[in-house]
Amino acid sequence: MKANDKSADVIIIGGGIMGCSTAYRLAKEGVSVLVLEAKEIGNGGSSRNAGGVRQSARDIRELPLAMYAVSNIWPTLSEELDIDVEYVQNGNLRLGKTEAHVTALTNLVKKSTSVGLDVRMITGNEAREICPYMSDEVLGASWCPSDGHANPLHTTLGFYKKALEYGATFATGIQVFGLQKVKGRVRQVVTDDGIYEAQHILLCAGHASRAIANTVGIDIPVERETSEVFVTEQMKPMFGQMLGTSDADFYGHQSAHGSFVLGGMGGLEKFTSNYYGDETHNVTLPKLSRGVIKYFPDLANVKIIRSWAGQYDVCADGVPVIDNVSEVPGLTIAFGFCGHGFGIAPAVSIALCELIMKGKSETIDISKLNYDRFAAKG
């Protein structure tokens, strides 16, 4: 594509991991792809998450995506993308400190095992054998040995780099205002740089997607939620596992670099004046620090280097919409990932590629992630 050429077979709105990985797969198939991004590549949740590649504790509607990604994509993704995505498959421990936590975890485990995932409840002592730095306060945990973590920055930018190599074009710094139909099909993307045109449009712009979909009469109940992540100084290798807690005090892992990447919510973000910005909040980092220390006392004197905030695109029922929109032929949507999109992204892009090229997802069952599933109660 030349710099002044404003058309492609497929236009992807959103240069995050969903957009980059789908651009990669489409370009590899010889489709001409143009990705429009308002800011930078991977500026949103794709670069701000804590890197979980997790199947356990997922809603069973999106579990097929997670299981497919872990079985078929993640183990060889570094070779596929020519970049070290730092994928580590050392299991996921979801920790409980009270009987109520253990009950909640046990229920999650039952749901996951019903669809064939190898996840089980273990005692506090068994959890401490897997991860010796854990405090005695941990009563029990769910343990999924095939879960793990990866580096979201390398993964997102790796897909981007490969998409470029296969001929995709990316245009950043372009604000999308809306979509327009021509003769009944979605055809035009209206931007602050004029009108772009495509045969097919994929909308995967996180929480910004809702307003864009609204311009062609589609409304998906998605709202933003702020979460924060921090990173510590480099430490010797201590934990191989992805960690989370039943109470959602924090989640995270130790990266290949040696730093700990840990995140969570403070609980008071919604009541601050800058809730919809990407700014961190002064109460969140202290609260997360206290949460981590309760579970891992040895980390008390580890130094925090930096922290950042990001926005979840939370869908009303906790799983994303990944579908072709029948009222708007030519439009595919994928958003509302609720803060757990990173680990499934390599599989989501396979489904998106098939939705765009074949009209339906054949490889992975995404039938429960349809866009027209929402109805008000009563």
């Binding site: 997102t156 710094g173 008390a300």
Partner: protein, 116 residues
């Protein structure tokens, strides 16, 4: 930041004699690595930072940021003013979890909320 169009590179990567010079001291990232990142498609300083860790170390880019920007600008033929800057992050200086955890411990509103 203005509009940046990114497409496949058409020329091979050409090494330079000073590619082994360290630019980001904290993470030991060389000029050659930064040049290669631009060649691979990275354009803004945040993209280079996420790709290589340049500016992610203990000093948070206070030492190398301008040097990295200069290299990206000359490699990509985009003015340094268009490439953004490294986002300032809390805390300004490294501090232990224990210290930060105690910083709002006595804030009544927080304790009340957490005790629910």
């Amino acid at each position: 930041m203005g509009i940046i169009i990114r497409t496949k590179h058409t020329q091979p990567f050409i090494p330079q004699p000073d590619d082994s010079m360290i630019i980001c001291r904290c993470e030991e990232i060389t000029k050659g690595e930064i040049r290669k990142a631009v060649y691979d498609g990275m354009r803004t300083i945040n993209e280079v930072k996420r790709y290589l860790r340049a500016g992610m170390g203990l000093c948070q880019g206070q030492t190398c940021q301008r040097l990295v920007l200069g290299i990206i600008a000359s490699e990509s033929q985009i003015s340094a003013g268009e490439l953004g800057h490294i986002t300032g992050r809390m805390p300004v200086r490294p501090a232990t979890m224990d210290y930060i955890g105690k910083s709002t411990e006595h804030s009544e509103g927080v304790e009340r909320y957490e005790s629910k």
